[in-house]
């Protein structure tokens, strides 16, 4: 799957220019995180990936085909989008029917639906709640219900808008698992998140937006090695990374083992001098 952005601009009817020319290519299966301060244009950007929003100028190409050629519903087979607010998305009277709805819309055969239902409900921790009404779920379960209902459709690309919002540690662990399983299944996962710990531990590439433009774009380690640039868009690296930068270890550490390794290396180098 390949998403190509060509000088993408978006101007809202109010006259606000949310995206000011974005060009990049997202390809393969390595999960991509989109970060940046509120109002930087993150949601506006990802809403172009399945045609919910249409470019004011420039273009988005999905596998070489312009986004403008099909409707959002037609793209939904290829690009799944999990909205930020579950209440906007859920409308059926049981979790099971919620999960079956999307795949039926895109014409998935019944036996495949049944088989996916089993796997994905377990992945999302909903296997015992299939008969419940979505409105009776807790807010975190509701979120997973929307995730499940989109992943069920088996799209090539899955977009998550703020999946970590309101999640506890276990919720985040489950999300990590989902992101990983999507990658293993050869799917491309694009996620907007403000939770930097979640971002650095689960994604390989980061696109940092700042006032409608790409500020930084690249490997997670390279992006987080530039705290000054990041602070422009009010992103601060996770604590352990900041300690590593403060101690001038010269290496971007995202986990404690990484930090210790870099620390030992530095100390070893110092001893030799």
């Amino acid at each position: 799957m390949k998403i190509e952005l060509k000088e993408l601009r978006h101007v809202y009817p109010t006259g606000e220019e949310a995206l000011k020319g974005i060009s990049t290519v997202i390809e393969g299966t390595e999960p991509v995180a989109i970060i940046g301060q509120n109002g930087a244009g993150k949601t506006t950007l990802v809403k172009h990936f399945n045609g919910i929003l249409r470019p004011s100028s420039g273009d988005v190409l999905l596998n070489g085909e312009s986004i403008k050629t099909r409707s959002t519903a037609q793209w939904s087979k290829l690009v799944g989008y999990v909205f930020q607010n579950p209440d906007d998305q859920l409308f059926l009277d049981s979790v099971k029917r919620e999960m079956e709805f999307g795949p039926r819309q895109v014409g998935m055969p019944e036996d495949k639906i049944a088989q996916r239902l089993k796997v994905i409900s377990e992945l999302c921790g909903l296997q015992d709640k299939l008969d419940m009404h979505p409105f009776d779920l807790t807010s975190t379960e509701k979120k997973f219900c929307t995730v499940a209902s989109v992943v069920m459709m088996d799209p090539e690309v899955v977009i998550f808008d703020e999946p970590t919002c309101g999640q506890d540690v276990r919720g985040n662990e489950r999300l990590s698992k989902i992101v990983q399983s999507l990658k293993d299944a050869g799917k491309l996962c694009i996620t907007i998140s403000h939770d930097m710990k979640f971002v650095v531990n689960n994604f390989e590439r980061a696109i940092v937006l700042y006032k409608g433009k790409i500020l930084l774009d690249g490997k997670m380690k390279d992006v987080f090695a530039q705290p000054d640039e990041l602070s422009k868009t009010f992103v601060s690296p996770p604590p352990i990374t900041r300690v590593a930068i403060g101690a001038e270890l010269g290496e971007t550490a995202f986990t404690i083992p990484e930090f210790m390794k870099a620390f030992d290396a530095k100390r070893g180098a110092a001893k030799h001098e």
Binding site: K47, N50, I52, S71, T72, A73, Q74, S76, K77, G80, Y81, F83, N85, D87, D88, Q89, L90, F91, L92, F101, G102, Q105, V106, F135, S149, V150, M153
Partner: protein, 260 residues
């Protein structure tokens, strides 16, 4: 910010005018237009409204609104009343299939004139009055605060539901529901949207009510102050008195014309 009415914030005398004076205007001008026997009178008031719209810097929008309403309904009514009113005696034109009568045409003009006065003044009021201020003014005049909130909530809920509808529509499209296409497919896509829209606006309303309570909306034995000030100025009082005088004068003139 959310658009809750067709209010256009603008610095103009009409914008600054107290909402109550504008409500007086709707009723005094409208009733005067209805009761006065000559239809020309209501058109004079309409011209007055156009001048008011000019002062409020809304002339273009106002003209568009008035023409869009007036022309079709005028044509329709002149056709029906002019050709087929039983009151028709004086024939002013013969179109072959029917004869155009003066009385019917005058009657049509009168109805349209009165409607235009009501609609025009109402339109001017809503475009120059911030809803919050209108409610504050009504509460200041003795309306119960809870009723005031109810009015405001009702006015707010429609645009809010429209916004939600749009988001939900997007969410449905992202799950493969085609919201475009033929009438039937659009209708089919519409039905599943209604559930979440209605449900979520219920929960929203409940939550907003609880929030208001936590902020002391229902506190008793305390005189609350309002965030939006609604004070009548001398000029507002003068306008109100003038409007009432105008109405009374019209009534007097009508009575005089009928019996003298």
């Amino acid at each position: 910010m959310a658009k809750t009415s067709n209010y256009v914030p603008q610095d103009s005398p009409l914008d600054r005018m107290d909402p109550r004076a504008k409500i007086y205007a709707i009723f005094c001008l409208g009733i005067a237009a209805i009761i006065f026997p000559y239809y020309q009178f209501s058109y004079l008031i309409v011209i007055g409204l156009f001048i008011a719209a000019g002062i409020a810097k809304l002339l273009k929008k106002f003209t568009k609104f008035m023409l869009a309403f007036a022309i079709p309904i005028l044509i329709m009514l002149i056709f029906i009343q002019g050709f087929y009113s039983p009151k028709n005696v004086t024939i002013i034109a013969d179109c072959g299939f029917a004869k155009l009568g003066l009385e019917g045409v005058e009657y049509a003009l009168k109805i349209v004139g009165s409607l235009l006065v009501f609609l025009g003044s109402f339109y001017l009021m809503t475009t120059t009055t911030y809803t919050g201020r209108l409610v504050a003014a009504l509460v200041d005049s003795g309306m119960n605060m809870k009723v005031g909130y109810l009015v405001l909530a009702c006015l707010n809920v429609v645009p809010q539901m429209q916004r939600r509808m749009l988001i939900i529509q997007e969410a449905q499209a992202a799950r493969g529901v085609d919201t475009q296409g033929t009438f039937f497919s659009r209708l089919k896509a519409y039905i599943p949207l209604l559930g979440p829209v209605v449900m979520s606006s219920f929960t929203d309303a409940q939550e907003r009510g609880m929030t208001l309570e936590t902020r002391g909306f229902g506190v008793k034995n305390v005189k609350p102050t309002t965030f939006v000030e609604a004070k009548k100025r001398t000029s507002d009082r003068v306008v109100q008195i003038l409007l009432v005088v105008f109405l009374v004068a019209t009534i007097a003139a009508t009575v005089f014309l009928k019996f003298a």
